[in-house]
């Protein structure tokens, strides 16, 4: 039976006058192994009470025991036509229908049984199996999930759920289910093999190979696992590994020509031509009509420059098999090679040991005619327009853009949180300083809002510092990028500096927007052209200083430490925490020499035209930036000539 509670069971202590007596007697007969007698007994009882559902149900059970499924089905249908029978009867009808080969009806019966009692494991499992056999995958998946929910450790249910998920193309989830099955069945290689297939279909070849290896750990001679891992290694172009596993397969199945051909193909690709030829000959020894084996033999001969042997092999084996287009192409290639064959005498080569060898040189590579390849398949590169040829600025901008995007991709690939933090970092710094200033009730010149004071100051410093770091250190993408002749380290550094300037410029322009539009604060947006000039100057100064520092630190490593100290000094005196208008006159005269304070004060003026800028001058940082850049470029040129060596 099914393990579920029985329906319409007779009470065990019924007497001969009791209406349950026929049921009790029938059960006694079945328990004593007289199923045929039980059937006769039930039929006799049914003659008196033909519509009794319990009698019909028990008769069906007895009939199923003596393999009369057709009659059992009829009895069950009769029983189910009257009310009172539920999921168990439907389940048994499903069994009877299935035994009669009526799978669609069986699926309906199982499904009704499962819907009638959703917590019944067998009903869910049978429903899923029957529906899957009918190709109704979505319904099958629902029942398989229900079965797994009832018994999460059942290997049967996990197997069925995994298969159903794989058939509905949910390969990653299927792999997880097979993994759970594998943990339940710790010694069986089957679950790992299923998992490997699911992972392969999900595109994770490495994990699939690992699963195959686990299956092989459980049973080292498992041929299916061996075959799958060999195919996976070949698919991933991991030829050394492919060679190992195809070799094992060829040893395990020595009489399969297809395996030998595959092994030979791997050997051919690994330039082990002699072994490839051996495998091809063995395959042809087993099946002389095998076209792939013959093709392999011919290819191996051609790879060794043995066009004559390839021709002989074709003549020897080709007559035994039907025509094949691949072989026809190979025959043509053999003919071409024979035409081009140049008889070359083997020269005597003097080796390092002073011995003489007469090894023949390999066949010469002869390219096809220059018109043979269709030029439409080629990639073409755009030419720089003539009016730009003098400047080549378009190419450089394209390179900078490529480097910036690549650097971002390298930095944040698989780590989108990092990108969010990149945006959040300046916001947090500014927010912290804002609350600090509110706390100390810092007086602002010209009643400039504290938010604006902070937003105008920090991005200018960040742009300067970012460009300084770029100029002195480069980026993580430098190693590969500078192997391209068109890309120099200067491009790489400039790209990083440009990104730092651009990011902070955009941040400075946009930081006030949320406050204005969401928090209704009375703030203003900066003047964009002025801000752009300020950020370019800030970036140029930082970049120039960074380049100079990098060149000098090659000769004097202490310059690195000096640059860091200088950066700190510039930061502290750059007016982030004060305005030059509000400090004492003596201090102001000293602070005026920091070019950054001019930029910061001008940026605040760009936000609020009423902000005083009487004592600062944009010309000073501009002169500073130009001087630093010129010094840096002159230094680079001198370094190229070896002046610092």
């Amino acid at each position: 039976m099914t393990g579920a509670d029985d329906e319409l069971s007779p009470s065990a202590d019924a007497s001969a006058d009791d209406p349950d007596w026929p049921l009790v007697r029938g059960r006694q007969l079945i328990q004593s192994g007289q199923a045929l007698a039980a059937v006769s007994h039930y039929e006799a009882a049914l003659a008196k009470r033909p519509d009794d559902p319990a009698l019909n149900l028990h008769l069906a059970r007895a009939l199923m025991m003596i393999d009369r499924a057709g009659e059992a089905r009829a009895s069950l249908r009769k029983a189910l036509s009257s009310k009172g029978l539920g999921p168990v009867a439907w389940f048994e009808l499903g069994l009877a229908e299935q035994r009669c080969g009526r799978f669609a009806r069986a699926a309906i019966a199982y499904r009704r049984s499962a819907l009638g009692r959703p917590t019944w494991f067998e009903a869910q499992l049978h429903a899923a199996q029957a529906l899957l056999a009918l190709g109704k995958r979505t319904l099958a998946l629902a029942h398989a999930r229900a079965a797994t929910d009832i018994r999460p450790q059942s290997p049967q249910a996990l197997h069925l759920l995994g298969v159903t998920l794989a058939l509905t193309r949910q390969f990653t989830e299927a792999a997880r289910v097979f993994e759970a099955w594998s943990q339940v069945d710790g010694l069986d290689p089957g679950p790992e093999l299923y998992r490997a297939r699911a992972l392969r279909l999900a595109g994770d070849t490495n994990a699939a190979q690992a699963a195959c290896l686990k299956a092989l750990e459980r049973r080292p001679d498992h041929l299916r696992a061996l075959y799958l891992i060999a195919k996976l290694a070949l698919g991933a172009d991991d030829l050394p590994k492919a060679q190992i596993y195809w070799h094992k397969l060829a040893q395990a199945l020595p009489d399969r020509p297809a395996i030998r051909v595959q092994f030979g193909q791997v050997l051919l690709r690994r330039a082990q031509f002699q072994s490839a030829k051996d495998q091809a000959r063995k395959a042809l020894g087993i099946d002389p009509t095998s076209a792939p084996a013959l093709a392999l033999l011919v290819e191996a001969h051609l790879a060794c420059g043995e066009a004559l042997k390839a021709r002989d092999a074709l003549a020897e084996f080709d007559g035994r098999r039907q025509g094949d287009s691949g072989l026809a192409a190979l025959s043509a290639e053999v003919a071409r090679r024979l035409d081009q064959r140049v008889a070359r005498a083997a020269p005597a080569l003097k080796t390092r040991k002073g011995r003489t060898t007469t090894g023949a040189p390999p066949p010469r590579f002869v390219p096809q005619s220059r018109d043979a390849t269709p030029k439409s398949a080629w990639v073409t590169r755009p030419k720089t327009p003539t009016y730009f040829s003098g400047l080549e600025i378009v190419d450089h901008i394209a390179i900078l853009r490529a480097l910036i995007l690549n650097d971002l991709r390298l930095k944040y690939r698989g780590n989108s949180l990092g990108f969010v933090l990149e945006i959040l970092r300046p916001t947090l710094v500014i927010a912290a300083h804002y609350y600090l200033f509110v706390l100390v009730r810092k007086p602002m010149p010209a009643n400039l809002p504290i938010v604006t004071f902070v937003i105008a100051g920090f991005p200018v410093w960040f742009a300067f510092n970012g460009a300084l770091q770029a100029g002195s250190h480069g980026t993580r993408s430098a190693a590969q990028a500078i192997l391209l002749p068109q890309v120099t380290m200067f491009h790489v550094k400039l790209a990083k500096a440009s990104w730092a300037v651009l990011l902070n410029f955009v941040f400075c322009l946009c930081a006030s927007w949320p406050l204005i539009f969401f928090f209704r604060q009375d703030l203003s947006l900066p003047d964009i052209p002025t801000s752009a000039v300020i950020f370019i100057l800030s970036g140029s100064m930082g970049f120039g200083l960074g380049l100079i520092s990098e060149q000098m630190s090659k000769r004097w490593p202490i310059v690195d430490i000096f640059t860091k100290l200088l950066a700190w000094a510039l930061y502290v005196t750059s007016g982030q925490y004060f305005s030059i208008m509000t400090v004492e006159r003596g201090w102001a005269q000293f602070l005026w020499f920091n070019p950054l304070i001019h930029l910061v004060e001008y940026e605040r003026h760009a936000f609020d035209p009423g902000y005083p800028i009487a004592v600062v001058n944009l010309g000073y940082p501009a002169a500073f930036a130009v001087s630093l850049m010129m010094l840096a470029l002159m230094g680079k040129k001198a370094a190229r000539r070896g002046a610092f060596a």
């Binding site: 595109g203 070849t205 490495n206 991933a236 172009d237 991991d238 030829l239 050394p240 690709r269 330039a271 790879a303 020269p347 080569l349 003097k350 080796t351 390092r352 002073g354 040189p361 390999p362 066949p363 010469r364 590579f365 390219p367 096809q368 220059r370 043979a372 390849t373 030029k375 398949a377 080629w378 990639v379 073409t380 590169r381 755009p382 190419d395 394209a398 390179i399 853009r401 490529a402 995007l405 690549n406 991709r409 390298l410 690939r413 993408s477 190693a479 590969q480 990028a481 500078i482 192997l483 391209l484 002749p485 068109q486 890309v487 190229r640």
Partner: protein
């Protein structure tokens, strides 16, 4: 002509001593042909190709090479290991101003196989990376292609690379330590022996010269 005019190169080693790779040498190599650079391990083959690409400057002298030289391919170092093939292709496509889709299609056509474009390059074997890198560079048009240590490449891929360069009338310079590859593919050979560069138009003579015992004159 590719010309090396009085070119010398040495590397600083630990302890202040310098390892001389090339003492001042002047050689000429023809264009529009396959040039093999034959040298033993550590002879300076990669440095020679990197100097041709302009990535490494010689200590003295100058090199006259075609204007549009490809990056040195097949070293396995050109692709970013943490990025996928598609991302690497996108970077290269942006640098050279080509359409990335077309580049990837050309790569697949060149390799005659479907590439798993989303798989990070680090998951590929080193030989596979070399193959990918070589394919990616070869499908782009250049005047001169540079292939380092071609012994690691699959023979069929190497043939395709030379075929593509030939179709484009481009010069190909490849380096190897295997004389057989030079015998098979090269039309002109430069042998690196000791600290000298020796050009040969006769391939067999170059191989003979390479195989004969050399006097240790390296510093």
């Amino acid at each position: 002509m590719i010309q090396f005019l009085d070119v010398a190169k040495s590397y600083a080693k630990g302890g202040g001593a310098a390892k001389v790779l090339f003492s001042p040498t002047s050689i000429e190599m023809p264009l529009d042909c396959r040039i093999g650079v034959l040298g033993g391990r550590g002879a300076g083959k990669t440095t020679l190709l990197q100097m041709l690409a302009g990535n490494i400057a010689p200590d003295r002298g100058c090199i006259l090479a075609p204007k549009d030289v490809a990056p040195v391919a097949s070293s396995g170092r050109l692709l970013y290991p943490q990025l996928s093939i598609a991302d690497n292709a996108q970077f290269i496509a942006r640098i050279y101003g080509v359409d990335v889709e077309r580049l990837l299609m050309a790569m697949e056509a060149f390799q005659a196989s479907d590439l798993n474009l989303r798989q990070p390059v680090r998951l590929h074997s080193m030989d596979n990376r070399r193959g990918l890198e070589t394919t990616m560079i070869t499908v782009l048009p250049f005047d001169c292609y540079l292939y380092d240590d071609v012994g690691h490449l699959e023979p069929y891929l190497l043939e395709q690379c030379f075929e593509a360069a030939y179709q484009r009338h481009a010069t190909t310079v490849f380096s190897t330590a295997d004389p057989k590859l030079v015998q098979r593919f090269a039309e002109f050979v430069v042998v690196i022996k000791g600290t000298g560069l020796y050009p040969f138009a006769d391939i067999e003579a170059a191989v003979d010269f390479f195989k004969t015992e050399m006097t240790p004159d390296r510093n």
